[in-house]
Symmetry: C2
Subunit: 513 residues, 2 copies
C-alpha cells in the first residue's frame, strides 16, 4: 500500500475543490457588495476556506510520494474513500466559519454553530443525499446556499465518473452492473479509454445542467434558484434554497420540469453516450432502463390510487382539496423524487396512507439506475436478484435443470449472481445495524422505530427525507452527535456502493500480499 | 405430477394423526369421568374429530392412486406442504367443536369460537411456533391442552425426520446445510437408509422426551404439566398450560431444567446419533454446534449486562427487585427461549432496554441449528453467509485472489454459497412483505410498526412472542382474520424453510417437463 501516493492524489482533488470554492467565493464577493453583514461573513468564510484548502492541498502534495506505475486497486479504493471523507470536511468549513463570524443571533438558523452539523450537511451534499440540518434555510446567505448546492453537483459528477469510467477500468465491482451493454465493437465498456469516457460524461452532465437551468429560467425562476435547484436535481441530491423545498414554489410547470430532469438524472449516463452515437436500439432494449421505468410507473400507480380522494398537505402546510389532478401532481412528483433518490418534496407524504408510505420506502431501497447520479441498491441489481431468486426456487424441485439468468441477451455469471445477492443482503444488514444504532444512540430524545428506520434508509440510500420525525417538513438537526456520525457513515457507505468504505475495515486490506 | 398418489400418502398421514388424537381422546374419556361439562365436551370434540379424520383418511386413500416407483421430488414437496396445511385443519377441529359444544359462556376463553383462531392455534402448534390466541389458557379443558401440546411434539418430530432423513435423500435443499459432516465411512449422511435414519431420530426424540418428563416430575411438577411442557420444550414450540407461561411456576430449578432441554432441542439431532456411536471428536469439532453455543453465550452476555441493576417484571406481573442472580436467571432463560425459537417466557422482556430487545430480535432471525426442532434461519446458514460476505469484500480489492469458504474441513461449493445467501435474502423479503401486510390489514385496530414487524418475525421464525402488542404477556387473538391468515402462511413458510411452500407458487412447479 503506497499511502503517500494516495495522499498526493488527494492533494490534487483538494486543489480542484478549492478552485470551485473560489469561484463560489468570487460570486459571494459580488453578493457581499450589496448585501448585509451575513453575506460579507459568508464571503470571508468561503475565501478563508479556499486558503485552508490550498494549504492542505500543498501539504498533501509535498508530503505525498511520486507516481509509480499504474494506480493499484487498493490505492484507488483508499483514494475514493478519502476523497469523500476529507472533501466533506473541507466543504463543511465555510458553513462553520460563517456561523463563527456571525455569532449567536436569532436572525439565522443556529445549526451551523455545531461542527458535526456542518460536516453532516457537507457529507449530505457530496453524497447527493440531501438530508439537511437546516430549518430556516432562507436565513442562510445565498452564497453559502450556492456552495451547498455545488457540493451536490460535484458529488453527482464524481459518482458518475467514478462508476462509469474509473472503477470498471480498475476491474472493481461487477462489471455488468456498472456499464451499459453495447453489442458493438467495444465490449470493454462504453469507451476503452478512461479519460475519454470521463470527458464525455462531463459533457453530458454539463449539457443536462445547461438544459435544466434554461428550462427553469424560462419558467420564471431567477438565476440563483434555477442554478441551485438544477444542481440538486441532476445530482439527485435534494437540497433546496427554500424552507419548504420545491413545494414552496407551488408551480405546476416547475414540478413537471423537475420531474422530467429527476427522471433523466436517474438513467445510466452511458445510455446518453449511446444516444449521441444514435444507437437507438441499444437504448430502447436496455433491460435496466425498461425495468426502471416500469417500477416507476407501478410505484406512481399505487401511490396515486392510494392518495386519490384524500386532501393533500403540501410542505408549506397548505391543505389542497382532493382531486384527480392533485393526486397525480403530488403523487408523481413524490414517487419520482424518492425512487431517483433526489428527495425533493412538494407534499408531506408522512400523512399519506400506509400503502403509499410503504411503497415509497420500498422505492428508497430499489433506487435509480446504475451509472446514474442516483443512489439506492440500483435497478439492475434488483433485477438480477429477482431473477436469481426465481431460479433458486425452481432448483428446489428441479435441481438438475440448469437455467441461466439472463439480463438482456447475455447470461449473468455465477460470480455476478453471488455479488448481486450479497450486495442486497449487505444493504439489508447495514440498514438493520444503522437502525439499531440510531435508536440506541438517541437516549435524550427517544425516537420511534419508524423514525430510526427511515432515517437509516434515507441516509444509506442517499434519499434525504424519511417518515415520522425525519419527514418532508422535518430535518436532521435534532439528532445527537453520535447519531449524526452514524448517518454520515451510512451516507458515504451507500454512495460508494458499500465496498469502498467497508473494505477499509477488512483486516486484509492493509496487508501487502 | 401424480396428484392422486400425493392424496393417497396424505391419507396415510391423516390416519396417523387420527390415531394419536384417539390416544388423547382416550385420556379425555378418563378425565371426563370425574370432570365437569367442559371436559366431557372436550372428550366428545376429540372423538368426533377422530371420526372425521378417519373418514377423511379413507376418502383420500380411496381416491388416491397406487404407488408408482419412487416418490419424485415435486410430489414429495407437495406432500410436505399439504401435510402441514391439511394436518393443521384436522388438528383445529377439536378446538372448534369443543367451543361449539360448550356455547357462549363467560367461564371459558372465547377464542375458539372463531374457526380462523382454531386453525391459527393448530398451525402454531404443528409449526412449533407457540403463538397463541388464548388469554385464559387455564379455562380450557386439560385434554384439549394436552392435544395442543401434542401438536408441538408431532410437528417437532416431523420436522427433524423431514430435514435430517427425508429431504436429503431426495436431494432437496443444500445437502451440507442439513446433515452433520461425518468424516467416517458414511459420506452420504448420517446413515445411508432413510427408514433406518428416521427410526434412530424417533428414538433420540423419544429418549429426550422421557428424560425431560422424568426431570420435571422429579422437580415436583404433576404428570400433566410435565408432559405438556416437555412436548413444548423439545419441539421448541412454547405452548404452556399456564396463563403466564413458565414464569407462573416461579421455580428456579424448573427454569434451569427447561433452559437445558431447550438448548438440547436446538442442537442438530444428527449429533446425538454421532454421540451414540461415540464419535466424540465429530461432535466437539462440529462448526455449527460451536457457533450455536458461541452466539447463545454472546447473546446471554449482552442481555444479562443490559438488564443488570434493573427490576424485572415477570409474566405474572410481579416485580422482582434487581440483583445479579435475577438478571442471570431471567436473562439466560429468555435468550435461550428466543434463540432456540421455543418462545417460553418467564419475564415481560418488552420492558427491557432497547439493546436487550434488539439482541432478542436478532437472535429470532439467527435461530437454532439445522436438523434440530428449532426454527429461524439456522446457525449454519448464518455462518456460511458471514464468511461469504467477508470473502466478497476482499474480492473488491483483490479480485484475483481465490479464497475458498470453509465450514469445518470442507469448502463450501459455489451453488451452496448462492443458496445460503439467497435464503437469507428470501427471509428478509418475506419478513418485509409480512410486516407490510400485517400493518396494512389491521385497519380496525391500527398496529405500531414494532408490533407488525415482531409479529411477522415471531411467526416467520417460529418463535411465538414478539414485542409491543404481541409481547410475552399478550396473545394473537385480537388480530383480524386476514392478518391471521398471513401469519399462518408465515409460520408454515418459515417452518418448511421457505421453499416447500413458495415452490407451489412457482409457475413451473405444476408443469411437467
Amino acid at each position: 500500500m503506497n499511502i503517500r501516493y494516495v495522499g498526493r492524489q488527494l492533494g490534487l482533488l483538494v486543489l480542484v475543490l478549492s478552485a470551485v470554492m473560489f469561484l463560489v467565493g468570487v460570486w459571494a464577493w459580488v453578493q457581499a457588495a450589496g448585501g448585509g453583514a451575513g453575506e460579507r461573513a459568508a464571503r470571508n468564510a468561503l475565501l478563508l476556506s479556499v486558503a485552508v484548502g490550498l494549504l492542505l492541498s500543498g501539504a498533501l502534495r509535498l508530503a505525498g510520494g511520486r507516481f509509480e506505475g499504474q494506480l493499484a486497486r487498493r490505492e484507488a479504493l483508499l483514494l475514493v474513500a478519502a476523497s469523500w471523507l476529507v472533501g466533506a470536511a473541507l466543504a463543511a468549513l465555510p458553513f462553520r466559519l460563517w456561523a463563527e463570524f456571525v455569532g449567536n443571533t436569532s436572525a439565522v438558523d443556529p445549526a451551523f454553530s455545531s461542527s458535526i452539523n456542518c460536516y453532516f450537511e457537507a457529507m449530505s451534499g457530496f453524497t447527493t443525499t440531501g438530508a439537511t440540518v437546516l430549518t430556516e434555510i432562507e436565513s442562510i446567505p445565498r452564497s453559502l446556499l450556492l456552495w451547498r448546492a455545488t457540493t451536490h453537483w460535484l458529488g453527482g459528477l464524481g459518482i458518475v465518473v467514478l462508476f462509469v469510467a474509473v472503477l470498471p477500468m480498475l476491474g472493481v465491482g461487477s462489471k455488468r452492473v456498472f456499464r451499459v451493454e453495447s453489442p458493438g465493437p467495444t465490449p470493454e465498456g462504453v469507451t476503452p479509454r478512461i479519460q475519454e469516457t470521463a470527458r464525455i460524461l462531463w459533457m453530458i452532465y454539463f449539457g443536462l445542467t445547461v438544459a435544466e437551468i434554461a428550462t427553469l429560467r424560462l419558467l420564471g425562476l431567477d438565476w440563483f434558484s434555477s442554478v441551485c435547484h438544477t444542481f440538486a436535481t441532476l445530482a439527485t441530491g435534494g437540497f433546496s434554497t427554500l424552507n419548504a423545498s420545491v413545494g414552496q414554489m407551488d408551480r405546476v410547470a416547475v414540478d413537471a420540469a423537475i420531474i422530467v430532469f429527476m427522471l433523466l438524472a436517474g438513467v445510466n449516463f452511458g445510455l446518453y453516450y449511446q444516444l449521441i452515437h444514435r444507437r437507438w436500439r441499444t437504448v430502447r432494449d436496455d433491460p435496466e432502463l425498461r425495468t426502471y421505468l416500469a417500477i416507476l410507473a407501478v410505484g406512481c400507480l399505487i401511490v396515486v390510487i392510494s392518495i386519490y380522494r384524500l386532501p393533500i398537505t403540501t410542505t408549506t402546510g397548505t391543505e389542497v382539496p382532493p382531486s384527480f389532478f392533485t393526486s397525480l401532481r403530488y403523487g408523481l412528483f413524490q414517487v419520482t423524487a424518492i425512487q431517483t433518490t433526489t428527495g425533493f418534496c412538494t407534499a408531506e407524504f408522512d400523512h399519506w396512507p400506509f400503502v403509499a408510505k410503504a411503497t415509497l420506502v420500498i422505492l428508497m431501497f430499489v433506487g435509480a439506475s446504475s451509472g446514474s447520479t442516483g443512489g439506492g441498491i440500483k435497478v439492475i441489481r434488483c433485477l438480477i436478484v429477482a431473477k436469481v431468486l426465481f431460479v433458486e426456487i425452481e432448483r428446489v424441485f428441479r435441481p438438475n435443470v440448469v437455467r441461466p439468468v439472463r439480463i438482456g441477451k447475455s447470461a449473468v455469471e455465477a460470480e455476478q449472481k453471488l455479488a448481486a445477492v450479497s450486495y442486497l443482503l449487505g444493504i439489508v444488514v447495514l440498514f438493520a445495524v444503522g437502525t439499531v444504532l440510531i435508536k440506541a444512540l438517541e437516549t435524550d430524545h427517544p425516537v420511534s422505530l419508524v423514525t430510526a428506520a427511515t432515517a437509516a434508509a434515507a441516509t444509506l440510500n442517499n434519499i434525504g427525507p424519511g417518515l415520522a420525525e425525519v419527514s418532508a417538513v422535518d430535518n436532521y438537526a435534532w439528532f445527537s452527535a453520535p447519531g449524526k456520525v452514524v448517518m454520515c457513515l451510512l451516507m458515504v457507505i451507500g454512495r460508494l456502493e458499500v465496498f469502498a468504505i467497508i473494505v477499509l475495515f477488512h483486516p486484509r486490506f492493509w496487508r501487502d500480499e
